[in-house]
Amino acid sequence: MERLFYSIKEAFRLIITLDSEMLGIVSLSLGVSIAAICFASLAGIVLAYALAFRKVPLKAFVVSTMNTFMGLPPVVVGLVLYLLLSRSGPMGFMKLLYTPYAMVIAQVLLALPIITAMSHASLVAVRPAIKYAAKGLGASDAQASIAVVRYARYGIISSVMAGLGRVMAEVGAVLIVGGNIAGYTRVMTTTIALEYDKGNFELAIALGIILLLIALILNSALYMYQRKVYR
């Protein structure tokens, strides 16, 4: 019990003094996840729009695949990427295994189905009347599309947040393709796992608190935005 209190106290000391090792890990974590979410959002929203309003071959198949892949086990993504990126694999020449770039790819693969499927659902729910009204008011095709996306923006932003939540909390895939290399590919979740192994709970607890804080801040921001939209 005494040890638990000591660990928690030390964890807060690390956070308050902005411990440099801790900051390095947090910023790498944020950098990798935000990069991944940017790529996944751009690709996912474009794909969702195409699936909702354009003729896409095998549309039903793509939509159900995306819905299924929302629950893709991260370790499976890690394993498949490992085999692809290994020097003995088909993409080994790119020298990506055990780099932050490999972690970004893994996270894009994890976030893309969530962002695509959820954005698709909110775009499909937009009444066709919005588009016709926009066109009737003299909007071009592109402007009408933007009007539709604007109308679905709350759902789309939620999908991006859900994707970010998934990749920030994920440990299985980044551990396999990143290798948990100190100061290079060691992110918050893999540090927590390692520090638990070593019995140094202070840093693990501190990072756990920071992860929760980040989630809280993002979700509060989203909620404020939602209130603004619907007021």
């Binding site: 040890r3 990069a35 790529f39 751009l42 690709a43 474009v46 290994s86 020097r87 003995s88 694999g89 080994g92 790119m94 020298k95 990506l96 295994l97 055990y98 780099t99 932050p100 770039y101 970004v104 290798g179 948990n180 290399i181 100190a182 290079y184 590919t185 390692l194 638990y196 192994d197 070593k198 019995g199 140094n200």
Partner: protein, 269 residues
């Protein structure tokens, strides 16, 4: 839009390939969990100007990573297999670096009555006879290989016994599980001393000193003739550092928080 994204993605990837003077070392959880690398590497990195990225897995996985060409150098502990893989041409320049020993840990109240026994096989046969819980790494690591070789001297396969738990985790995690389960476990002394530092696990060393429990660590380089991209020169610097007088002295001076020595240098002996 998509094409632009794709281009950005590709550019980002190739930017990541430009780092020079970085070698990758596949090693074992025992060397990482004990804190040896954190202590040792800054000295080497400063001296040689080469950064060492450590990927810590079990020895079995480290062999696979090396054989696939995904690392430059290995620091592992399964000497017989290391020598076999060098013979088969997967690795070159193998050297002994240091040793410590394996110990059998168990709950302080010792339900199987192992305290005082000097032979690891006899201790294992008592665990089997009394059916007390035993935690196995079960992950093909150096420690797991050693454990299996001890069961083999008894001519038995412990798997599928109710008291035998294969956890498939690293050394420190497996010791923690054993502690929670009040179980026995074969562990390397370095990891045991390192984690017993920070936590009272209610366990102690019950069997030690048997010759079969000797734990040799060795270093070797991935054969550059098999994988042309291996940074042989930098890897060689790392090997030379580890077996040099300075490197060996550093290994000997590495202590846990209680001031106990975890590894004993024995390069070139």
């Amino acid at each position: 839009m998509k094409r632009v994204l794709f281009t950005i993605l590709i550019m980002l990837f190739f930017a990541g390939t430009s780092y020079a003077d970085r070698i990758r070392c596949a090693s074992t959880t025992s060397t990482q969990n004990s804190g040896l690398f954190e202590y040792l590497l800054p000295f080497f990195e400063k001296e040689a100007g080469v950064k060492v990225d450590v990927v810590a897995v079990g020895t079995g996985a480290a062999f696979k990573i090396g054989m696939r060409g995904d690392a430059d150098v290995l620091l592992v502990h399964a000497k017989t297999e290391e020598l076999r893989l060098v013979n088969e041409g997967y690795f070159v320049d193998r050297h002994d670096v240091m040793y410590n020993d394996f110990v059998i840990l168990g709950p302080v109240d010792d339900p199987a009555g192992l305290r005082g026994i000097r032979s690891a096989p006899i201790a294992f046969s008592l665990i089997n006879k009394r059916g007390t819980v035993f935690v196995s790494r079960g992950d093909n690591s150096g420690t797991h290989k050693k454990e299996m070789s001890i069961w083999k001297t008894l001519d038995m396969d412990p798997r599928w016994n109710k008291w035998y738990l294969e956890v498939g985790q690293g050394m420190a995690k497996a010791i923690r599980i054993a502690s929670e389960k009040r179980a026995y476990i074969l562990a390397d002394r370095g990891t045991w001393l390192a984690i017993n530092d920070s936590d009272d696990l209610g366990m102690e060393v019950l069997v030690e000193g048997d010759r079969i429990l000797f734990n040799q660590y060795g270093v070797m380089i991935v054969n550059p003739e098999r994988h042309g991209h291996v940074k042989y020169d930098d890897a060689r610097k790392f090997v030379d550092f580890l077996i040099s007088e300075k490197g060996q002295g550093l290994v000997a001076s590495f202590r846990n928080k209680q001031g106990k020595q975890l590894f004993y240098p024995n390069a070139g002996k």
